[in-house]
Symmetry: D2
Subunit: 338 residues, 4 copies
Amino acid sequence: MQTASVGIIGASGYSGLELTRLLARHPKVQLRFLTSDRWVGQEVSKHARVSSTLRYVSVADGLAQAAQCDSVLLATPAESSLELGPKLRALGTRVVDLAGSFRLKDRAQYPKFYRFEHSAAAQLEEAVYGIPELFRAQTTGRPFIANAGCFATVAALTLAPLLRAGLIDPDSVVINAGSGVSGAGRKATEAYGFMEIDGDFRAYRVLSHQHTPELDQTLTAVAGEPVSVVFTPHLLPIKRGILCTSVARLKPGIDPARVAAAFVEQFGQEPLIDVLPDPHDVRITEVVNTPRCALGAATDGKHVVSVGAIDNLLKGAASQAVQNLNLQLGFSETEGLR
Amino acid sequence: MQTASVGIIGASGYSGLELTRLLARHPKVQLRFLTSDRWVGQEVSKHARVSSTLRYVSVADGLAQAAQCDSVLLATPAESSLELGPKLRALGTRVVDLAGSFRLKDRAQYPKFYRFEHSAAAQLEEAVYGIPELFRAQTTGRPFIANAGCFATVAALTLAPLLRAGLIDPDSVVINAGSGVSGAGRKATEAYGFMEIDGDFRAYRVLSHQHTPELDQTLTAVAGEPVSVVFTPHLLPIKRGILCTSVARLKPGIDPARVAAAFVEQFGQEPLIDVLPDPHDVRITEVVNTPRCALGAATDGKHVVSVGAIDNLLKGAASQAVQNLNLQLGFSETEGLR
Amino acid sequence: MQTASVGIIGASGYSGLELTRLLARHPKVQLRFLTSDRWVGQEVSKHARVSSTLRYVSVADGLAQAAQCDSVLLATPAESSLELGPKLRALGTRVVDLAGSFRLKDRAQYPKFYRFEHSAAAQLEEAVYGIPELFRAQTTGRPFIANAGCFATVAALTLAPLLRAGLIDPDSVVINAGSGVSGAGRKATEAYGFMEIDGDFRAYRVLSHQHTPELDQTLTAVAGEPVSVVFTPHLLPIKRGILCTSVARLKPGIDPARVAAAFVEQFGQEPLIDVLPDPHDVRITEVVNTPRCALGAATDGKHVVSVGAIDNLLKGAASQAVQNLNLQLGFSETEGLR
Amino acid sequence: MQTASVGIIGASGYSGLELTRLLARHPKVQLRFLTSDRWVGQEVSKHARVSSTLRYVSVADGLAQAAQCDSVLLATPAESSLELGPKLRALGTRVVDLAGSFRLKDRAQYPKFYRFEHSAAAQLEEAVYGIPELFRAQTTGRPFIANAGCFATVAALTLAPLLRAGLIDPDSVVINAGSGVSGAGRKATEAYGFMEIDGDFRAYRVLSHQHTPELDQTLTAVAGEPVSVVFTPHLLPIKRGILCTSVARLKPGIDPARVAAAFVEQFGQEPLIDVLPDPHDVRITEVVNTPRCALGAATDGKHVVSVGAIDNLLKGAASQAVQNLNLQLGFSETEGLR
């Protein structure tokens, strides 16, 4: 494929806006339509501040053009992508889904973690889970990619080298993370008002966040043995970015020097991952507004503390979706991201 | 004792200022002297914004009045309190030490965690460790109390009920905490400048923070068996407050309902602890500017996540020191705090 | 009057909560009822974190008890206080109104600035405007006091000494102010979300804010000649506090030394005003959580720049209402505030 | 000139880093050297996060290469640029100076506003003042351009259309502005610590800021008659951006509709200025990280309130310097900025 025609459904959320900006500048992509309920008829250039002659359309009008697209990206709530995924595939269009409705292979978990019964078994089977640095072999050329969740992305990257190399006890993993407010999406509730957020920090969805089964599934695939994590997300008084601190027990008899080596071996050549020598250098401000993930781990010979940081709207959503789109369509993985 | 005469050494740090405000209003305490290197000769009322006719004096001038004091509180760097503690005890004065130099009973740990050899063996033996809600029986009436560290206080409170009741595996404890910038003290370095802190979040002293051995010592005493924790502190873009998220494995066969019950049993009647039904209600903004600790725990039958919040300058320093001072001098423990 | 029985209508807004805290500790006041639509039936102690056995009631239930009150304070939207003021006066109850509906003497201005026709002419005539430091002689013992607006309070205090002493051109006054987000009240709109406010600063209600005619009326009374100001409020990314910068032309031939002298003469003995020697020392963080106003002015011989700061919820609302209540009932003006 | 060889002296300050990023991507510019005292020998790519093989050098090493440069940009303190400007001109190199030492034509003002005697009369005479939207005719092709100050840039743009069209009284101009902390440069003082800045807002250099004479000089040139402003800068608790609110009296008999028209006429075609219909739409967050200036004005028929916003490090420093460099070297003015 020389260039691709692409649509975005759900282009006015925070992730959808970032996706618009990235794809508007992508040298191989031609944006064909963008849907937004709140901005139907308004100029894309005004809201996304990109050079474009497009105007936002309704979802129905977007779907009407989808068959002419090489791929459509879904940046909608999960309930919507659950409906749109099958419709788009029926039109023969490829899909990259940024919502969560096609990430968990076990349908039984959707009622608990997403509060719906999963109604699209065929597409769920077709969908492949997309974190390119871990699964690019499986996603290249595939028609339906489920873009990984923000917390799940960074947490998986802090742990994958340790699990692949068999350095840590898969039953000992405790993950804590703090996210900026944009992770909650564009909701006008008092809970996300400045008066509530500024000066505060708190845990949420304790022992019940939907990225916990996503991480178990991902890390089990990476480790080749069952992994079950405890994950606690927290809300930070900042706009963007996630810092994730993963703790695990080193297996008995493991040489501590293998910890740092595992990260260099696995990710040292990755174009979008910075393996730092010290976890103290991993900071949100160093990755915000970039498609990169910073990683750094330390060990005292008994435990490993592995720290990672990403921009939740980019590597945690839009820029990772561009990586996955590039893999799907056969472009260079970092096309449009460097 | 009807009323006590009290001095503060190190009254211009953030904790020292809070201590000044609390003691200036304490109905049973008469402030006799306050030392401050930066403000010698200046009015206490101006800097601490309290009603007082005192002026700050040098440490030497403070020591000259110490023998007339019923107790002296040390809010200095640890290196200073290591020297001042023995001097004050030689004068026969009681001590409440807010620095860390008398918290760890094992002298061998000071070089690693405090970067000095401990030179005051007698006072270290005399000192008792002060978190009133856990150890008030041991601290009442004692002449030398080592006030607990900020992280150590809140982390110990999130875990003590679980360990005392034997509900969690003592080898599985992972603690993560975020602290406001005042925890770093009044340092004019670029690292704590607004440009570095705003919008950021990062881990520090990974696997090497001095509150780790303090927690091991405290929780081992509470549990009656060896406890060894992994503790990772983080720096929050806020001024004040700590939120601590402790994770541990529930012992096999434990009824999950015992988790909530343990907190109510142990702390339900504590005047300065709020046991909340849900960890999501534990928030920094609810405890900042109060002497209180908020606690809330949840379990899924396999793990417990226990969340606590305090004001690092109050329950994490100054107001806990007032609790300990009250115990030392025989006053009601919450005198001056309600 | 030895002690007074007092009610609060609108006790769950930010100002209402501060008022509750102040009056719960006021040595001469007994709170009889507090109304809150959102918290009817819930404990006052829980939301306001004060010692109280009261529960919030509906406005109707509050009015049923109003005749037994010595005074009722209104912390409602302006439309509500416009209705409640006459009802309370018909019951013979005194009123302190924190809303704006009785501040402007000229009824013709309400449609433009408050978007309603003023329907309560008798009470508007009865009402006296309350900034104690400027008008305590007029408000003492009066049954209906219109508590001044937040911006109007601090701006009037930055200018009154200059106008009273005839030092500045009354036609040259330009006022700019920045306010924390709590000034907008408890609104769950996207405009006051963390994502919109953090990192931003902007002007609002340019040339149309309702405190402009309030300031013209106040400063004209103070100056004894017509004063017409240009006032531009701005929204700050902070929770609480207002800083106001007033600029005016010095009248020809005025000795510049008279500027500082005017502030000392007028306010040097005021218990709640800090006249600072330098406008650079006037800072929001020095007055937040206090009932005080800080003022500092400078001149270059041609213009005066006068800077003031208050807590918008205290001196800009609740604590000033307590001053006015004290004056109304014959208590010492700062009772309950020191 | 096809492409230019350019050096930067003072590349590790906040403005210097932005300049590095802009020029590293500038299609017509080849960076030849960058000096930094703190980072001598370190890689430019690491600190500025740009693609570059250069390492920072000392000022002496930079000067040794300056004769081979088409232009050198100075992002140093004013005292340094005062010395470096003449040295560079003696080598025959063109200069764009981001410091303030060549902005004021009246040498008598330097001791008061910059605290030095101006020692470089020839270069001061040669230097032309650079705000391209006001003075591009005068700066095109000139060898020494004094890049305008951050506050002076945005304030001048809020007022120039009004003064050029003769709509406002030149003696009535009052300017207030708030700036993010980066405006103070990279100083590790307690005054710019997070603990001092967060939650605060205050005025500084009242009636004495060095941009006041710069504005008087600029606006007098624009108006063709003497203009003398009152300017009060304030410090905002944000990292980047300036919002400026300028107030002036409309001349008698002026049709209010001419206010909006004047902005459209003067700046409607400017590629880097957004003339907005409403001053409420002018917000710092809309211009941060862009080279743009947003402007919006309102009038009530008596006064004009004109609001402007820029990124202090871009349009207030680095990106405006690139505009001026482009003019100096004959490139398209927005080359490297769109």
